[in-house]
Each structure stands twice: as C-alpha cells, then as structure tokens.
Assembly symmetry: C2
Homo-oligomer: 320 residues x 2
C-alpha cells in the first residue's frame, strides 16, 4: 500500500473509523474534515447518548455502539478510547478489519498498548501505535476542535518490521492534521511521557486533594485564594479521570521511576527550606527559568503572562 | 485619620511611595493612576537602571535609589521588594515617615513581614500588612498592568490594636485598585498561602529541575513534548527566583507542614500505582475535578480550555 494518489488534495483514506469520540477523537474528526483527508468518517461509542451527540455535531456520518460494525470497510481505524479499553476493542474488531487497513491509536502510553492490541491484528492489516501530544483539560465529543494538533508533536512507535508504506502514510496523515511527527521506540516514549506528562498530572491531582483535606484551611479559602498558583494545578487536574487512571495503570514502571526522582529532589528542597539555605533555593529556582525559555523558543507555549488572566475573559476560546 | 473626602473621585492620598517597582509595584502604579487614587506617585529601586526604566514608563514622577528619600512627604508607603529586603528598608525609612502616614506591603508571607517591619514604625504612623493574591510569571517594571488586581483578593493582616480608620482607608484603596479585600490573622494567611501558592510553586520548580537532570530523557525531548502537561509547570516555575527564595525562607513552618501532607498523599497515590489499584486512582482524580469547578464558579479562573492554546497566539496579552 502507500499514498499513491497524484493529487495531494484528494482524500488519503476512503473511510476513517474513530473508536471513541472524546476530546481527541472529535478533534481528529474536525482536523481531518478541515484537511479533506478522508472520504467518510464513522465513529463508535459504547454510550448511545454520545453516539447521538457525535452525529448532531457532524463528527461522523454514522455512529455505532459496536466497534466490530464501525470498522467495516474502513481503511483507517483509530482507537481513541481510554487505553484500558483497548484490549477489548482490539479483540472485537480484529476479525472484521479490512485487508490493507491501517490501525492506530492515540493512547498516552505505548508499550502496554502494543501488548494489548498487536495480538488481535490479523496478517495483512498494519498496526502502528501513535500518540498526539496535545490536549486540553476538557473531555467529551463537544471538546474537540480542528486546531488542537497544529504545531504539536505526534509520536509514532512502530514495531520492528512494521510496513514502511503504512508508516509513511500514517505519518503524512498526522502532518496533514497539523502535527509534527516523531518516531521512537514504545519504551522510550513511555519514559519521556512519564516525566513530561504523567508525573505532572499525578502531582497536580495530588496537591488538589491535599488542599481539599486540610483541617486548618477551608475548601472555600483554597478556592478563593487560588490565583496564587494553585488554580493552575486544578486546571491540569480537571482532565478525564478514567483516561488518567488507565495511563497510570499502564505505565507503572516509568512513572514510579520518575516519581522516585521527583521525591528525591523535593526532599533536597525541603531540607534547604528547613535549614534556611537560600543559596540552594535561589539556584534551583533560577535554573528552572532556563527550561521555560527553551519551551517558548520551541514554540510549545506562548510567552504571554497567563497567571494574570482576566476574570470572564473569552479571549482564549479556541475556534472550532 | 480616615477617608474624609466627600468626593469619591478625589485622590485618596496626596503622595504614594512605592518601594520596589517590579510586577506588583508597577501594577499598583497603573491601577492607582487608572482610578485617580493618588495625587502623585514616587518610587524607589536600588537599581539605577530600574529607576530609569520606571520613569520612562511613567510609573513614578520621580524615582529614588534611597528609600529614606522616597518616603519623604508620602502619606501612603507600600513596600514591593522581595520580602527578604523588608527589614533593611523599614529600618531605613522609619525615621523619615510622615506622621499619620500608612505603611503597607505586598509580600506573600505575613507573620515574618510584621516581625521585620513593625519594630521600625514610629508612633503615629499606621502599619498594616497586606498581600494582593495576584500575579503573573513575569517580573520587572515592564511586567505590570492596571487590570492585575481586578476581581482578585487582597488579604490585609492588621495587628491587634491597628488604627481602624487607617485600616478602612487601606481597604478602600485596594477595592478601588480593583480587588476584593479579606481580613485575617497573619498566621492564618501564611497557612492558607502555603497550600494555595507556596507549595504549588515549590513542586513546579522541583519537577522542572527533575526533568532537566534525567539521563535517559534529553532536555530537548522534555521541551519538545512539553505540551502534555509539563509546559504548565514551567510557566509557574518562571516566576522570580529571589522573590520565591525569600518566601520559603520566611514561611518555613507552614510550608514544611503542607509539604509533609503533600508527600504523604503522594505516597498513597504511588502505592496505588504500584499495586494496580485503579479504584483509588479514579476516585482521587474524580474528586479533584470538583475543586476545579469551585474555582470557576468563584470567578478565580476561566473555563476556556487553556491546554490547547494556539502556537503564537497573542490573544492572552493583557491590556496595559
């Protein structure tokens, strides 16, 4: 297979099946339609209500509750459910996949995903795991928007011996969705994401819960005075609980390793505070600024001062 | 004393002296001029360069490098330097304060600040410590803007026996700068801010440093894939290192207490990950969402999905 079309504007796939139409699935639908990348989009959700909403939003021409039906005649299938559901979905769709089709996913962990999906993929179907590193704290079919992937990185983690044409085609698809594409091993992916995404989310969830269970500070006070920094943690901690539960259950070793490093470093800072070691504190705080500069230079964030965001401002609503 | 003016639009103070013109000092200047709250603003910085810049920006009609000179004839003096400098400033200005003047500050800790300033305030001058819970990750005289305090909370922590008229007048001043005002004890303030601001900043600084010192993940990868959550921590960790060093040195006990709670809770989550306890993870993640809803309902943040912010977007630049 491979993208043999002479016309770069022609659809790359005749039918895309999105298994799951939450934030990421619905954003793929928006971006694929924006780019004219697919002839037709069908979708799948176990919730009848979500199916109805997805059709109302025009995310798919037809929604199914049964993934086996949804993949019928699809030449691109993307799993967009929480990763804990992947094994069941893969088992269900395996016998119904079209020869030559590409199967991919968007999960935030990759080694466990390959372990769960690969055994169910028949010969002649090309499975290439993927992860668009993009998102917002919102979830559900209404949360998606076409620009979500623009300028962000999508990581593909093909197994050894993956079909080169299928890989190239999936890579082109993600580029035309707006992403940059990087290829790496699933194990390295899981290590990189443990520190850049999983542990940050875990400690954000954690401090929100710590704050909510104090005896000497009320919940009302925590909320009222949240503009001092806490607010930004609650934003991260508003992300989908089931999705994140599955991430932690499926990237255990890398998360525990990074968490160990984090705690070790935190004890160092704690000790500096206890003994009044201002020089150590100032040095660690100054070093952290340099990383921030790197992120802005790499266009992965904007330099505008966000802490001072206006109450009720609608300036940040992305176009849909 | 007290605000005896019959005209609500008349200046409340004839001369405001800002000791320090960084993010908060410069924002007070912008907001006080927006509201017509003061007849004249003078400022002070130990840096000649900052003095020059503050005059260029119109933050003060006259800048001084000597705080003793800056407070001459001022009926409102606000200390806006890092809190570690307060004792020296208070000692320098004490003998030069005008009878009946109000002295306040904007420091993020309050018990230590009162300990450092109060002994130097002469009889007949009214010292009332304060803390506007607002900010951005940027610093310096160029960082300020008039809207920074709008809808945010300013906490005042008067000592027992503080002059009631002076307190009322300072309260009105902050309301006219755009803030809501809350009165509490310095000790309670330090506890509330330890969890809502100090510990969040500390763990943000910490994870940025942890990420920067990994062997198996490169700095370049950390930056490239930061949109998965890490990015938002670097934003917090870009705040002024000296200001934050002084906060931790001056709110040691409350920070260590909250940090102990945070670590205890984190160990619980870590254990749930190690033993695959998905129910505990999902419950803690779900609980955290409720706190987020409370913050949005209290107008201390906007519901717009910020993680998906566009590359190069300028939509978030506050007006100045």
């Amino acid at each position: 297979m491979g993208d043999k079309s002479a016309n770069a504007d022609a659809p790359m796939f005749k039918r895309l099946a999105l298994i799951g139409v939450g934030l990421i699935g619905s954003s793929i639908s928006h971006a694929a339609r924006r780019g004219g990348l697919v002839g037709e989009i069908v979708g799948c959700s176990s919730s009848v209500e979500t199916c109805k909403r997805a059709e109302e939003l025009g995310l798919a021409t037809k929604m199914y509750t049964d993934p086996a039906q949804a993949v019928d005649d699809a030449d691109l299938v993307i799993l967009c459910t929480p990763v804990g559901a992947y094994a069941g979905v893969a088992k269900a769709i395996g016998p119904h996949l079209e020869q030559g089709a590409i199967v991919s996913d968007v999960g935030s962990v990759k080694a466990a995903v390959i372990r769960d999906i690969a055994p169910h993929i028949p010969h002649g179907v090309h499975f290439i795991a993927g992860h668009p590193v993009a998102g917002t704290e919102q979830s559900g079919p209404d949360a998606g928007f076409a620009e979500l992937f623009d300028g962000r990185w999508c990581i593909l983690t093909p197994e050894d011996g993956a079909d080169k044409d299928a890989l190239a085609k999936l890579q082109t698809f993600w580029k035309r969705l707006g992403s940059e594409v990087e290829i790496m091993s699933p194990e390295h992916h899981d290590m990189v994401l443990a520190i850049t995404s999983h542990v940050p989310h875990l400690i954000a969830y954690n401090i929100v819960n710590t704050a909510a269970h104090l005896e000497r500070v009320t919940d009302k006070e925590v909320i009222k005075f949240s503009a001092g920094g806490f607010r930004d943690f609650t934003r991260i901690a508003a992300s989908d609980p089931v999705m994140w539960r599955d991430v932690f259950l499926n990237n255990r070793d890398a998360v525990l390793e990074m968490l160990g490093r984090f705690s070790e470093d935190l004890v160092t800072l704690q000790r500096a505070i206890r003994f009044g070691d201002g020089a150590t504190l100032e040095k660690m705080f100054t070093d952290a600024r340099a990383v921030r500069r790197g992120i802005i230079q790499a266009s992965q964030d904007t330099p505008q001062p966000d802490f001072g965001r206006r109450v009720g401002s609608s300036a940040k609503t992305p176009s849909r």
